[in-house]
Amino acid sequence: MEKIYSRTKGLRADVVGGFCPGCMHSTVMKLIGEVLEEMNLFERAACVLGIGCCGLHMDYMSFDNITSPHGRACAVATGIKRSSPDSLVFTYQGDGDFAAIGLGESMSAANRGENISVIFVNNGIYGMTGGQMAPTTLMGMRASTAPAGRTAKEHGYPMHMCEILNQLTAPAYIERTSCNTPQNTLKTKKAIAKAFQNQLEGKGFSMVEIVTSCPTNWGMDALGALEYINEKMLAEFPLGVIRDAREG
């Protein structure tokens, strides 16, 4: 029989990931592995993992990685890329890492136009620590630190990182995608490939925000979480290319 699909070499063959059912972290890392494989980049790939569920990848992925202090992934990536310019350096960060504790590092790396790629996984909640409120938590959405749900008066509004970064002059490419449907998952893969290609071409800072789910901390099953993405998350975080210097 002809083999038409196999697991990417980017993921270890001998272990099963420990992510919750319906979690999209494994989907996104699979896409990254596929892109690296198709672009023949494993020999050059250095992944900077954020803190939180992102960090769980370290034991499932098969290529070089470093765990950064919480929020500092873009600064760590800056250090690697500047001192090892031939490496393909990308961060893999959640919403707390990229948009809360690491906001300064994220904005500043983007503003410098660092030639790195950022994979920003936004599920609107803190996962590993147990469902606390994130900068991207939706209005009214319950969190373990906002038991009555997010309110404007107390917590302000969800942060739209793509649109915020789009205020800067330097970034080369900013796109928001999701993995809620097969079509969107394919678009995410293309976006990741583009972010990597930009780096190879020296275009500067590229960021792909991927809207995902956290069924466990959202208190839903996997299908319910998909519906929630469709109905709520994407209403707040519309998909699409926000900046593409090649088109602009």
């Binding site: 494993f42 034991d59 990685n65």
Partner: protein, 362 residues
């Protein structure tokens, strides 16, 4: 080699370049601004990288990244900024990533005073971040030593795969003196150092889990975490045996022994000379490594002669005195001569304190 008249901060910066440092990230804070300013000019000349980070935290994280890519890397700051760097330093220590950083220290706590002080002793030697890690900490007492120690610090960092700290008070950092700079490593030597780190540096190794580079500042497994802690503890223990350094000056027949580091030691040495000229039996122990603390130097003292030890520090309360007390035990009383707030230790104060001790022990 020719003497150059140079500021402590600049000598540190130039020595780092000569030692093969090719990445520096830092953030402005007085009194260490000459280090980043110097390297912003110097790094491009040698194909190195200078980045002004958006904060001390970002800067040390950049250094963590660059060092993890195998590049000799450095950051610097002054006391409150060093506190911010504790996160990244702890990560480097945990992941066993070699890096060098300098604290051109000023008054504290808090924003403190921008003038020189030695208030960061305990932070530097006991807890430079979370998690009980240790580092070798060098304390220069001259611009020449600041240059030489920085140069050597990179070798120690690579040998141990651990951070190394240059604890340099604001006087030595700001002072200009003639200095003979260490030899410039050739670009071949610099490349060879980087290549030697390739097996573990996070720059891309393919897709084989067994041979990939994995910079791991923590462990999921409690078993392996304990193993890592045990390995680190063995390393720290080896320093206490092999790497503690001190200058012992006229201690053999001393009845009063001053102990001090950095600029305080230099002032104290002058006082020793003044009192020796008057026939007083006085000596000095100057820790060159404040961590590991040179306990051996205190062991070598002849306590049948030593009547008192005088701890001289630009810190209130006394900080190094805690280590001195541990080293001396109940074999001799320990007195202190202190100043802080950015005031520089005065010869007259130390002289008066030492003379008073001779009165007391008569």
């Amino acid at each position: 080699m020719a003497r150059i008249f140079m500021k402590g901060c600049e000598a540190i910066a130039e020595s780092a370049v000569r030692a093969g440092c090719r990445f520096f990230a830092g953030y402005p804070i007085t009194p260490q601004n000459e280090i980043p300013e110097y390297l912003s000019r110097r790094m491009p000349e040698v194909g190195g990288v200078f980045v002004q980070g958006e904060s001390e935290i970002a800067s040390v994280s950049m250094v963590y990244g660059a060092a993890s890519a195998g590049c000799r890397s450095m950051t610097s700051s002054s006391s409150p900024g060093i506190a911010l760097k504790s996160e990244g330093v702890s990560y480097c220590a945990s992941a066993r990533v070699p890096m060098v950083y300098a604290n051109i220290s000023r008054g504290g706590p808090g924003v403190g005073s921008i003038q020189p002080a030695q208030m960061d002793y305990l932070q530097a030697t006991k807890a430079s971040g979370n998690g009980g890690f240790e580092m070798m900490v060098f304390a220069p007492a001259s611009v020449q030593e600041a240059a030489d120690m920085t140069y050597k610090a990179f070798d120690y960092a690579d040998r141990d795969r651990n951070p190394v700290l240059i604890l340099c008070d604001g006087v030595i950092g700001t002072l200009m003196e003639p200095v003979e700079l260490p030899e410039m490593k050739t670009s071949e030597e610099v490349a060879a150092i980087k290549n030697s780190k390739k097996p573990w540096s996070c720059i891309g190794h393919g897709s084989d889990y067994a041979t990939r580079a994995w910079i791991q500042p923590g462990q999921w497994s409690t078993v392996t975490q304990q193993q890592e802690n045990e390995k680190a503890a063995a390393l720290y223990e080896s320093w206490r045996k092999n790497d503690a350094r001190a200058e012992e000056y006229l201690t053999e027949d001393a009845e009063v022994v001053i102990t001090a580091y950095g600029i305080s030691a230099r002032v104290s040495k002058t006082v020793v000379d003044i009192l020796r000229a008057r026939g007083k039996k006085i000596g000095l122990i100057r820790p060159i490594t404040v961590h590991p603390f040179p306990v051996q130097s205190f062991e070598r003292l002849d306590y049948s002669r030593v009547k008192a030890v005088l701890d001289v520090e630009m810190a209130i309360p006394a900080l190094m005195a805690q280590d001195v007390e541990k080293a001396v035990g109940d074999r001799a009383p320990i007195h202190t001569c202190l100043c802080s707030g950015g005031n520089i230790m005065k010869k007259e104060r130390v002289l008066a304190a030492a003379e008073k001790l001779f009165e007391l022990v008569k």
